[in-house]
Symmetry: C2
Subunit: 742 residues, 2 copies
């Protein structure tokens, strides 16, 4: 296999039409199926013009199902350079770069070549930024640009092939792999991969330990719980440090301060900034706060709706499996699962839609704020859907089964049609034994089965779908061709381009990649680990395996199944880190509770889990939580002491700036001093300085007279000597005298 | 009374010898009572020389009990300016100042006059900084400079008088008052006063509310607890924001990054910094961590030692007051108090000494780190001494009295000598009623009596002591004079200076002001409020009154009873804020517990406080804590939304720097664009740019050919039109056709 490095670096100009992108930066997929011809044309012209106006060259080609593909590249090298330089200066102004960029544009660009990610990002901004900020102001799918279906960059197949090969051929990724990702797909995605990577590496420990625990300690082992939650603390704190470190290494520290305005933002009024004099579009924060408070009812609704659904199905399942013993029992057991799998997804999509509506309502100025708010709500949704079932089993079913089961008769109607006699549906009034395995079974389902299913849905499914889709298209095309339909888009493709265009057309059909979705998955997974893994210590093992595949799968997804993502920058994984912290903290509570409830063959301390002592349970949780918080503090403290490459880099850069500035402001030799440890040694005072006073003679202010009494060093020393002479000797004697007197 | 402002501004050159300081910056009190004459002289000469070497002018005069007073001022105005400028540049380098100081020294100094605090700070640094950093390296009381008793600045009496008058004449201080304090005594002390001030203002609310609660709700009211702890959250979060804001307004934001090296720091090895090439003295952090872990046993010891002492006295007291009923009971009741008041102070001073030893052992590089570590330990000490007694009463005595009291017979020996019969000392085996008032009494003692006593010790006592001391000295002096002892220091004072020198000599005798002590007081006070004020809602009222006096008292202390403090800078109140947070958080636990335990006339829910339900108690605490944490998060969030003058200032400065830089780097007009909202609009591409491709003709790379197919805007538009024409019309018909086919 050829040197991976070389393949990585390989750019697309390899002649081979499947690989070349003809220098295209972005493709705009403009559709006019629904619009009238005249309007479509007018809008198209407008589009081309506004693109050219911001210095973008355009080519147009035919697209599938009444669309044209507009190929965009930045018109002149000069223009690109200007853009790059401006953005770098802006970075510096916002404190993203420590060192001010060289004032000579060319030099700066030579020192720091433009990466693909940087180029694409800037071009994309040129296309989408509002006019007043110097962009073409094209907002896909919204406003006057409804016609613009998507604005996407073209995949670099040569690179993608090499990349996938590389990833699947090594056990874990190195720093340079992330650099490659960052230079191709932007920091935001690089962050995802590097997070997934560290998470994967960290998992090895609990996986091994969990396996041993599974063999030696069995489930609900306090030792495992302690180790696991300690691990959780270390991981979260480590990542907090690591993400800053990466930001510095990638030179994007604080990039989140450079906010992209949301086109959808509606401002109430425009205020002149008192100092900067900038016009700021404002929306009263109080109003927003009020709307944000809607999240509380939202969360409650979510919990209520999904909760009742889950609880309901759960109850039915218990009723059928534990109470009912008529015919078809084996089939009926699946009834609740069926209900869940059909109703749940629709419900959650519904709620997600509602959440995004809510977020729009909150009307944030910037994209980041908007995203963050959305993530919060999504997290709540996922929290309920993913963890509630287990909470129900662990903290409702097991402790209170005795009380609940008898009342489950309400669900008789669910099975009435099948039961022969009332008896079959009667709950045993007493002596009902709960089934302690249920919990474990559930965990295994969520942490193994679900993961696999999920992966299938995520990677395999779309692949198949796509293949089918392509086939259908071909068939259609053939038919059209048979009927000599000139309307086939490929008709007037230039032979040299045809393959290329075919590729572009198929890429135009792809969905776009959403990194938050992948993040969500990982966070939820971490949740299972920290909340419930005491129930079944093999959880981390399953995750370890899953994540190795997950990482490659996601890479595959990006390379083959989605349009090339816009390479956005980021300086952290954003609000997800808080979710992690929250889950780790909650874990300290649940683990303690679970252990207390189930310690001893899945039954409570008194052998029967449902009459445990409340205060004991609470005490266990109370201590575990506060120990957790204390340890967390300690770990954070310890980690903060450790130096890291990123910090070193930062220090280094700051130092350089310092010296340079000082060199300018106060000759070289001074600079040396001042830069290293501050104030330089004061120059020795010439006698003259001290004696100027003497010249004044007896006259002058009292101050002058005071300072002239000992005009020079010699005089001062002499005077001092005199005093000491006089004192030092008689001291003792005098003291003794005074003693005598007293 | 003359305009306060003027008095504030008044500098000391008023001729009146009591007010003038003869331009003296610092006085060095050099004592040689214990050293031999020769050595004393040599050291003295060395002292003078090293002072002159760093550009300080010196005068020497006679001091009390074998000491000479060395008067120091910066030799030349030029030299001062250089120092000021260097320090300002350094500030900028460390990011303390947003805007780079004008490169022309003179201009910068004109724009920003040197404050007294700045001048004194720099001179003090000149005197004390190690030689290699350009100072004279004089370390009072340590190393070769054991002889140097103290290095102190002289009080500005005119200002002090005006200041005290001002403070005592207004109800609360304004921003300008703090500015004055900052310019005279430095930011660190200004922070203390401004903290005390905000605390005082915030107290008004709980004071009023508490008073109402006391009348309407009585003690242990949940409502009061909720309101009070909400108040606590708001106060702590507010201050966190406020202290940053002040730092920005005072231009010291991030000043804590400029660390002063500890002379006492012992380094293991010297490492060259990989990047900066600076020599760094390092001490292995692991070793330090190991030593820091000693704090755990330390804390335990403290708790154990003081705890057992307190518990012991407590038990004896109970025994005597509740069990014993022989003669002298009334007197014996004081026995424990006597023990406490005698043993406790000695013990805690002992432990404090131990703590400082421990801190030295931890061997920090910088003064700040050292201080922070010390504060931690001091906090632990104070926590035990201040709160443990109440904890004992509330959570041990009241709930478990029934169990404990019978076992108190062990203390019989304490009273044996007085008792007539065994009976008098026998604990009632049963039916013992605990005394619910005890708790309230204790609180009142700690929050009223103790505060007053404390104030007396702090302000009145030293004043008296000083007066006495002066008297004694005079008497001695007279005696000496009578015996014609030439050894009286005042003997050869120049008449013009004599009064001034007398003042200096007395100031030399004063102790120096320690702001951390005052902080400690306030934090401990806040603790009582947040931990126990549910017991007696009048607590905040008492504190409100106390703090009004406290603030003035502290000012008085600084002005009259201590040497003028060195005006250090600071950008926060340091680790104290964490202590505040901790106490507020702990309050959420204790308040809940207290209410649960005592709700209903100081007795438990079942009427008798000692058989409460454990789980109920824990549940109450559990909820209260987590609600607390949630609310805290919310409040922090809400506050972060609010804009503040400090932030505005910062933004403004940053904006100016931006514009200025851009103006330099890319003409004015560009700057406008780039500064407001980043990248400027790309210039319209001339047709030539687009057409360069055409010139190439059919040859050239595939890319070139691709981009030349539609050389200009017109061509592109035309092509697009064609496609649309062809498609838009037939679309429907074709679709229907294909439908037919299927």
């Amino acid at each position: 296999m050829a040197s991976v490095k070389r393949l990585y670096k390989a750019d697309s100009n390899l002649g081979n039409p499947l690989n070349t992108n003809f220098d295209v930066d972005f493709v705009i997929d403009y559709r006019f199926a629904t619009t009238g011809k005249a309007e479509a044309e007018a809008q198209f012209v407008k589009l081309i013009e506004s693109l050219n106006n911001v210095g973008l060259a355009t080519e147009v080609r035919n697209g599938d199902n009444c669309a044209v593909l507009i190929f965009v590249k930045i018109a002149s090298d000069q223009h690109l350079k200007a853009e790059v330089y401006r953005s770098r200066v802006q970075d510096w102004l916002y404190g993203v770069r420590a060192a001010a960029p060289e004032k000579q544009m060319q030099k700066n660009l030579k020192d720091e070549p433009v990466t693909q990610a940087e180029r694409l990002r800037l071009v994309y901004l040129l296309i989408t930024k509002p006019k007043n900020e110097g962009g073409a102001g094209i907002t896909p799918k919204s406003g006057e640009w409804k016609g613009v279906e998507s604005v996407f960059a073209l995949h670099d197949n040569t690179f993608n092939k090499a990349w996938i090969k590389e990833l699947s051929s090594k056990y874990w990724l190195m720093a340079e792999d992330f650099n490659v990702i960052k230079d191709r797909f932007g920091e935001k995605i690089a962050y995802y991969f590097s997070f997934l990577q560290s998470y994967f590496l960290f998992l090895t420990f609990p996986a091994i330990f969990g396996f041993c625990a599974w063999i030696l300690l069995g489930q609900f082992s306090p030792i495992y719980a302690v180790v696991q939650s300690l691990w959780g603390i270390v991981f979260v704190e480590y990542w907090k440090k690591q993400e800053i470190d990466l930001a510095v290494q990638w030179g994007v520290r604080g990039v989140s301060k450079i906010q992209h305005k949301r086109p959808a933002f509606k401002h109430e009024s425009i205020v002149k900034d008192p100092i900067t004099g900038e016009d700021i579009k404002v929306y009263s924060p109080m109003k927003r706060l009020a709307r944000q408070l809607l999240q509380v009812p939202f969360a409650i609704t979510v919990a209520a709706v999904l909760g009742s659904l889950i609880a309901g199905c759960f109850a039915i399942e218990i009723f059928i499996s534990e109470v009912y013993d008529g015919p078809f029992k084996s089939y009926l057991t699946f009834l609740p699962t069926v209900i869940l799998t059909t109703v749940m997804p629709t419900l959650s999509t519904l709620l997600t839609g509602f959440a995004s509506k809510l977020t729009d309502l909150e009307n944030y100025e910037t994209v980041d704020a908007h995203e963050a708010a959305m993530i919060q709500k999504v997290f709540v949704l996922n929290f309920v859907t993913s963890y509630l079932p287990i909470f129900l089993t662990a903290f409702v079913y097991v402790p209170f089964a005795q009380i609940i089961v008898p009342h489950l008769d309400v669900f008789q109607l669910a099975v009435k049609p099948f039961a022969e006699s009332e008896k079959q549906m009667e709950a045993p009034k007493a002596g009902f034994q709960i089934n302690p395995d249920r919990l474990k079974k559930q965990i295994i389902y969520f942490t193994v089965t679900a993961q696999i299913v999920n992966f299938a849905l995520e990677v395999v499914m779309p692949y198949v779908k796509r293949k089918v889709f392509v086939k259908v298209k071909e068939v259609k095309a053939e038919r059209a061709a048979k009927r000599g339909g000139t309307s086939s888009p490929t008709a007037d493709d230039h032979p040299e381009e045809s393959e290329f265009l075919a590729r572009v057309r198929s890429e135009a059909e792809l969905g776009n990649y959403d990194v938050t979705g992948d993040f969500r998955e990982m966070i939820v997974q971490f949740g299972y680990l920290s909340l419930f893994s005491v129930i079944w210590p093999l959880v981390p093992v399953s995750f370890l395996i899953n994540n190795w595949i997950e990482l490659r799968g996601d890479a595959l997804k990006i390379a083959l199944e989605t349009q090339r993502p816009v390479p956005w920058r980021a300086d952290s994984i954003g609000p997800w880190i808080d979710c992690l912290g929250f889950l780790a903290w909650l874990g300290s509570l649940t683990s303690a509770a679970l252990i207390y409830l189930f310690s001893g063959d899945g039954l409570g301390p008194e052998g029967s889990p449902w009459n445990i002592k409340g205060w004991g349970l609470l005490l266990a949780m109370f201590f575990s939580e506060h120990i957790y918080l204390a340890v967390k503090l300690g770990v954070r403290n310890a980690l903060s002491k450790v130096d890291s490459p990123g910090m070193q880099k930062e220090r280094g850069e700051r130092f350089l700036v310092r010296k340079q500035y000082l060199a300018e402001s106060m000759g070289q030799e001074e600079a040396e001093k001042a830069a290293t440890g501050g104030i330089a040694a004061g120059e020795k005072i010439s006698r003259s300085t001290l004696e100027y006073a003497a010249t004044l003679g007896g006259n002058g202010t009292p101050e002058e007279r005071f300072w002239q009494r000992q005009p020079g060093q010699q005089e001062t020393i002499a005077a001092g000597r005199k005093y000491i002479q006089k004192k030092a000797a008689p001291t003792e004697s005098k003291d003794t005298e005074s003693k005598k007197e007293l």
